[in-house]
Amino acid sequence: MAVQVTGQVLDIRRAGSYHVLSLTAPGITELTRPGHFVTLGIGGEESSMLLRRALAIHQVQSRGVYGGTLDIVIGVHGKGTQWLVDRRRHDPIDIVGPLGRPYVLPKEAVSTVLVGGGYGSAPLFMLAEQLRERGCRVDVILGAATEERLYGALELKRVASTLTITTDDGSLGQRGRVTDVLPAIMDASDAAVVYACGPMPMLQRVSAIATSRQAYSQCAVEEAMACGVGVCMTCVLPVIGEDGVTRMLRSCTEGPVFRGDRVRWADVGTVPSDTLGAPVGGGH
């Protein structure tokens, strides 16, 4: 269940190369679970940018004078995200959410590893807290190209059992990639679940590492979305169902969180020939 509300900008602040936008979002925060996302209308009524932008929900505050507020972490990518970070206090923003399938939490108090790439750490905060509440061990790995593209390391440190940082250029933490350190960290805690959010190639490798260690992986993907609510079919990727059949599933409603071992990572961006209803011969 998602709702559409007009929120207001409460605050916008920089964090490294990102911006954190706090919005009032009455009615949305109450329903939010880790891994949910929102879509925001861009550019005002006379905007030439028709499509909403999808952003992971970072934090929610359900009470307080504003009756529900949420934070999102924005990396400026193009004109829509630029518009968002140019907002000022009290500006209205049209919000739809919470959207998507959130992370699935383990029933038991197992060990977990959370892996975030760049702003992909944003949804891991709520997740880490809820896992801790359930008694899970939570080891966190954050990676980015360079220090200023890490988000929230200090805050995550507070809630994590361990925090490991990697940067491509070695400007903070270990030089290298999150997947360089993941195996050892999984092994140390005997992790049963890996939660990940970040670029597709990262998710692919995280998922492979988890699977090779008989662990579950829960990966939040990022596919271009036109509607965000499941009606347009733009955001699909090939996913293997329980019946062993590959289908093109909508990442906005059947994701963005998928079981890593179900996603045909190497085939993302294609329609594998054994997909249900795949083109025969000349294609569609």
Binding site: G230, M233, G269, G277
Partner: protein, 340 residues
Amino acid sequence: MTRALISQGPVPSAPLPAVDMSTTLGQLHLPAPMLTASGCAASGRELDQFFDITTIGAIVTKSVMANPRSGRATPRMAETPSGMLNSIGLQGPGIDRFIEHDLAWLEERGARVIVSIAGSTVDEYGKLAARLRTVRSVAGIEINISCPNVEDRGQVFACRAGSAADVVNAVRRHSDPRMPLFAKLSPDVTDIVEIVDAVVRAGANGVSVINTVLGMVINTDTMRPHLAGITGGLSGPAIRPVAVRCIWQIRQAFPQVPIIGMGGVRTGLDALEFILAGANAVSVGTSVFHDPSAPARIQVELQRALGERGFTRLADAVSHAHRPADSRAEFDDDIDFISE
């Protein structure tokens, strides 16, 4: 600033004027004129959380084919100025599962449904129509003929009068004779009136205009076509003037043919424009992606706009822009000139 609140959903700020919003599309009577555009509302279920889908005229479902279909590879969309390109490739569950799953839900929900069908051959269209004959809850069929004909070098059915008529003919023959059929036309033709003539002769009760305009975007980073499908369909407000022109031309040529208008409708005034140009009902497509409550919101805005203009019946506004010129009323020399 408060203007942004317009996208807050269908909550009216002042009492709505009393306007009879019902409309007639040949044999099909609808209590309200707004529809969802095929492919932009799936089968209505997802939108029902944003507005009550039984309050609008009907849900036009995503074009369904005979068999399950994966659609094309991604990227399937690109944002363009005031529009978007899509190249979905008609992903869908196939007619059987659609009937069991989607139509059953819509029936239970009490929504009116126009089912959109698509085929790769004339025969497939006929089979789809025959299959739907057994289903009670179908209020009308929209025949999406903007599909490549696999038997004719991938020529799009809608682009030639002959192939367009063949498809409509097949559907007519396999449908209940009372089933309202709407042929959904492509604007990418030299003369749309000629196509309308062909499909009406072939048994269509009305037409739906317009489907998307063929377009393309090159990604300036990869320096290749952005869409996996290379070309795609342009939709959204960018194409609205093209849609209005098509509706106008069709209404000029066929004063009575029922028209479902679509293409870039975003507000009640846009819908009014379509109705004045000759549309009997109006579908909302791409704007749903911008505002998931758009169909219901626009319906309310349209009712208000009609009331403000003194209409008590939507039907009276249909084709009103075609009325003969009445120079006296409009170029009155005695108007209040310092109106500013």
